[in-house]
Each structure stands twice: as C-alpha cells, then as structure tokens.
Amino acid sequence: MTESVLINLSNAILFLPVLGFVVTLLLGKKIKSIYLFEVFILTIVLLASIVLAFGKLSYFPDDKITAEFEWFRLTDTFAIKLGFLIDNITVLMLFVVALISGLVHYFSIAYMKGDERYNRYFAYLGLFTFSMNGIVLTHSIIMMYMFWELVGLSSYLLIGFWFEKKSAADAGKKAFLVNRIGDTGMLIGILILYLTYHTFSFDQIFASISAGVLPFNSDFWLSVTGVLLFMGAIGKSAQFPLHVWLPDAMEGPTPVSALIHAATMVAAGVYLTIRIFGLLTADAMMFIAIIGMLSAFIPATIALTQNDIKKVLAYSTVSQLGYMVMALGVGAYKFAFFHLVTHAFFKACLFLGSGSVIHAMHHEQDIRNMGGLRKKMPLTYATFLISSLAVSGIPLTSGFLSKDGILASTFAFGSLTGYWIFAVVGLLVAMLTAFYMFRLVVITFHGEPRDHHKFEHAHESPFVMTMPLTVLAILSIFIFYTPNPVSAEQGWFLTKWIDSPEVHTPNSTRFDFMQSNIVEQASLSGHGEIMYSEQYTEAMHSAHYPAMFLSLFFAVLGILTAFTFYQWKKVNVDKLVASVKPLYNFSLNKWFFDEFYQKTFVAGLFGLSKIMYWFDSKIVDGIVNGSATVTHALSIFMGGFDKYVVDGLVNFMAYLSGFFGLLFRRVQTGKVQTYIVLVIFSIIIFFFFL
C-alpha cells in the first residue's frame, strides 16, 4: 500500500461515477437496463472507498496525502491547480458517501420502478456522487467551490426530478437559488483568500496564516473571511436563515432525500466548516455557534407539529445539522464530525424507512393517514425505531455518543466562557427531538390504522429496500465507533481515526482555551495542532457526566411525553393545541419564514426588476432615443407622423425637434417674396454681426 495507490483509488472513486453518469444518460433511451451499469459502478466505488479507508487508516494514519496538477496557468504566479487532500476525515467521509450512495442506489431499484425516466434518475445519482466525492477529496477551496456548485446542480435536477409537478420544479429552483445566496458569500470569501494568499490550497493558506499573513492585515478581516466562507455552509447545510429550502426539497424522490438532503450533501456545509476550521477566529466561531444554535432550535420547534412524514425528518435534519455547526462553533471539532457520520447513517435510515412506508402506502406521506404499520412492516419498523432512538440520543446508539459529546462540549464552553446558552438550548433541543421523533414513530407505526384502504394494501418492502435499512440501522449501534457504550472519548473513532484539529489563527484571535504554547507552535511551523488548554480538558472531563445524565433525562422525558400524548392518550392533544393555538400555528406554519421571505426578498426582487425594466424601456431608452431628432424621426420613420406625441422627458426633445421642423416649414412658404424678405433680414443681421 503506497500513497500512489491511495491516489489512484481516489481517482477511481471520483471519476467512475462520471462514467456512470455519461453512459447512463446517453444510452438511457436505448437500453432499458443501463441503470444496472450505474449500480455496478457504485458498487465498485463503495468497495474502493472501503479499501481506501482501510489503507489510509491502517497504513498512513497520521499522514496528509496530497496530489495536485495544474489545471491552467496564466502568469508565473497565477495557476489554478486541482488536487486531492487525503486525510482521515476525507476517507471516512468518502466511505460514508459511497456507502449511503450505494445503498440508495439499491433502494431506488425498487422504489423508482416504473418511473418513465428511470435511467435518467440513476444518471443523476451518478452525477451527484461524483460531485460529492469531489467536495470531499479536494485540497483547495476553489475546487471545493466548483464541486459545491455541481452538487447544487444535481440536487436541483433530483429535487425537480418529477418536474411535471409544479411544486417539485419550484422546490428545485428554490433549493438552487437559496444555495446560491450562500455561495455568493463563499465566493467573496474565496476572493479574499486568493487576494491575500495567492493560492487556493488549504495547506498553503493555513501555512501563510501561521506565518502571520492576514487578509488586509487585520484580525477583523480574517474573521470576516471565515464568516463569508461559512455562508456557503449556511446555504448548503440549510442553516438559519437559509434553511427554508430543505423542507421543500422533500418534493424529490425519497431515496434522494435520504442521500442528498439528509446524509451527504447537506453535511457538506459542516464538512466545509471542518476544512476551514484552521482559519476560524473566536469571533467567527461565535457567529457559527449562534447560527448553529438557532438552526438547531427553530426547526426543532417546527418539527413538533408537522404532519408530513418527510417534513418532520427534514426539520429534524436541519436541527441536527445545527447541532453539528454549533459544535464546531464551540470548538468541538471532533464531535461535530462524529455526529456528522452517525447522523448520516441514522438519518439516511430514517429517510429510507419513510421511503419504505411511503412506497407501501402508495405515495401517502401524511402521518395522519397512517398508523399501526408496525404489524405490516416489521423490518421497516425495527430499523426506524433504532434510528429514532439514535437521533433521540438513547444509550447504546451511535447518536447518544455523538450528541452527548456535543452537549458536553457546550457545557465545557459555558463553564470556560460563560456563554451557557448553547448548553441550555442544546438540552432543550434534545428533548424536542426525542418528542417529535417518537410522535412520528407512534403515529405512524403504533395504534390503529386510520386509512384502512391503504392499510390493507400496505406490505413490507422487497429485499433491495430492506437491506439498506438494515445496514444503516446496524451502523447506528455504538459498537462501530467505540467499545464503551457511554463514552466515545477513548474509542477508536475519536482517538485513532479523526485527526486533531489544527488552528492557525493568531493567538490573540482565539478563545482563551484554545491558546497554544507559543514556543511549541513555532516549532511546528504551520502544522500547529490545536493545543486545548488544560482548563478545557478539565472542563470537558467534568462536564461529561452532568451532560450525559441531563441529556438522557431530557431525551427520556421527550419520549415519555410523546407516548403520553399519542400512544396512551393521557392528555387530550387537541385541547392542548387549542389552548396554545397561536404558538401551534406559528410552529405549523414554520415560523412564517417562507411567507416573510416571499413578501420581502422575493417580492422586492421582482418589484425591483419590474421597476428596472420600466426604467429601461421608458427612461433609458427614452433619453437615448430622445436626443432631439431620434424619437421624432423614429416616429416619422415608423410611418406614424405623429408630431405631437407627448409623454414626458423624451418628448421635450421631440418637441424641440418638432419645433425646428415646424419653424423650417413655416419659413418655406412657397412665396418668393417672403424668401427675399428673409434674405434681406439676414443680411441686416450680418451687418450687426460684423
């Protein structure tokens, strides 16, 4: 196992899906079963990524492998290079992407059966896998941006896959555009980075920052750069205030939701933040933490009242992504990535499970029409339940480990900086999560069926669909990450697999607890691993148990409440809802974000564009046309000898030329004596002139 093998493997992982995409797209019309080629390709990619991960983790656990080639060059100093950065995070992420993508491919074979654009669907999945792998593998911010846009494209295509449905087409457009807002910020961030460091490569940028080169020579601009880059993540990871696209994106086929809008693409934002972690200042991290906190909290409250099974999961996804972002904000780098991975599995499982249910219910998504499916679909139920437990943070699941870690970090952060708000919100969200997840589980799978007709026809899904569910559910068990079911701290995932974060920002811009020993930092020159201060280690240690118990307490509280409300019906939910009607509506209507954006930004934009067009056609065109003759002559020209057209500014000029015209015509009377009089007058005027 050498580095070049890893690089070749990465190449294969990156480019094979393109092959799949092109072949499937071009031959899709001709060969009905060409989708199998795409599935086959993905299987290979999956295997390759396993080999890659295995090779990297066992042979080069501490190395960063980079490879680049020059894409094009303009001057001696300016060349755009594309390349790979293969570290442990890369290979783990690649594995996650490949696995989920592979499973979704299998799942889709059955789920999408009978669709008229069946092959096209698989082609798009190939395109997505390619783009996502690109994001994961890249060593430079510009290449990340490129693939970033490409996943946007595949997301657009897949959300709008059933484009005959207006809502689907709208959702695709919305997703792309909202993402572009974030991308715009990211682009500006990239511009600042390039201007300052004349390179796009992460390593070189970090090295320069370590050497003290800052954008516009100021800490402030470093923070701004971090925040701008993070804007990309806000868009892609559907963070507040750009979270509105994700629930709408559920218009896409459910396997797509599982792959793109739960496990991988939306996590790309978090992945980006992890990649740029090294240049985030304390201010930027604070910003990130706040965004994360809001994104964790707001969607959680919305998820409480949603009735569409996928919408609940979508809001849950936003909320969980908020967790990860918040974790990064408070410095819990490892736990953020850990949660990313665990969340990818259990959320993908949940989505695929919901897909299974929807498939069984003949595209019924409203949970109020379900119920009692536990008996009809035992395997789906079991996997769904395990994943729900994981997302709620119940011990023995992977979710418990990662969420607990994040909560502990917020506790430690609170104790070190005094900002306890993150811990409080974190716990609150943990409870809400448990509640709405089990509300979902109970309403969908327990109780009596509400729509008997559909219930009768419901059936367990075929093997290609249940197999992925099973795999993912199994991966939601703690054992894959750590031997200790209550703490991941010492597990191989956190100690062996994830690299310690590097921070390169000047010490003065860091949180106190992230200050590093200056001497040691200097000796490392650019590869400064973060040296969490001793207080931080201590604080983490002492926060571990309180956080664990509190989170467990709140999670169980949430679950019990859900059962009380919906299973045992001890509380009349309708009455409760009626008593908090405004709040309920507020949540049901998603805090009116869409309406607010529609009324302000969208309407504003369209209004502006209308005004601009009016301005263009009436004023600009008018003025330019109006230069004396033009309008008038144009009107003559058009056969409309309308000399007295009067509308506005334009026609002042027109009037002028009309005046001249009339004057000239008055003079040309046809009477020769008049002419002579005029000549004599002119001669007299000449005398005065001379």
């Binding site: 015509r665 040309q668 046809g670 009477k671 004596q673 002579i676």
Partner: protein
C-alpha cells in the same frame, strides 16, 4: 448748391431701397421685375458717379453699359417666363404662385 458724389449716392440708395420695396411688396410679377430693374439702375448710377468723381477713367461707364445690356436680356427672359406663367395659371399675382412649398 453744387451737385456732388453724395447726391448721386443718395439717389442711388433711394432707388435701391425702392427696388427692394417693390420686389417685396408688389403682387404683380411685372412690377416685381421693375423693382429688379430699379436695383440694377441704382448700381449703374453708382458706377458712373464713382467713375466721374473718383477719377477712375471710363471703367465705370463701360460697366454700366454691360449692365444695361444684361438688364435688357434679363427683362426679356423674365417677361417670357411671366407670359408663360400667365398662360398656364391665368394670373401673374406671385402670391398665388406658391404650389411648391413644404
């Protein structure tokens, strides 16, 4: 009172002005033509007067002769044209001859 150059000039200027006046005000084409003749003759008076008082030899007189000949030719042509107009329009009122205009 001795008649000097200035007297001639006053006469010629008066003739010129009357000529212009006639051209501008008369409606009858013939009268307009007579105004033109007046202008030419005012110039002739000038030529001869300058020649006489300015010691320019006979040059002025010669010029006057040329102009008289030319005036005659002009008159002949003008009358022919007016005649033609009268034939086609049955009028010589130049106010009514204004079909060509903007």
């Amino acid at each position: 009172m001795e008649v000097g150059l200035n007297h001639f000039l006053v006469v010629s200027t008066l003739l010129f002005s009357m000529g212009i006046y006639a051209i501008v005000t008369r409606k009858n084409a013939i009268l307009v033509l007579m105004g033109i003749e007046l202008i030419l003759n005012s110039a002739n008076i000038n030529f001869i007067a300058f020649s006489r008082f300015g010691n320019f030899g006979l040059q002025g007189h010669l010029i006057a002769l040329f102009v008289i000949v030319l005036a005659a030719a002009e008159a002949a042509i003008a009358l022919a044209i007016v005649l033609n107009i009268y034939k086609t329009l049955s009028t010589v009122n130049i106010d009514e001859i204004d079909n060509l205009k903007d």
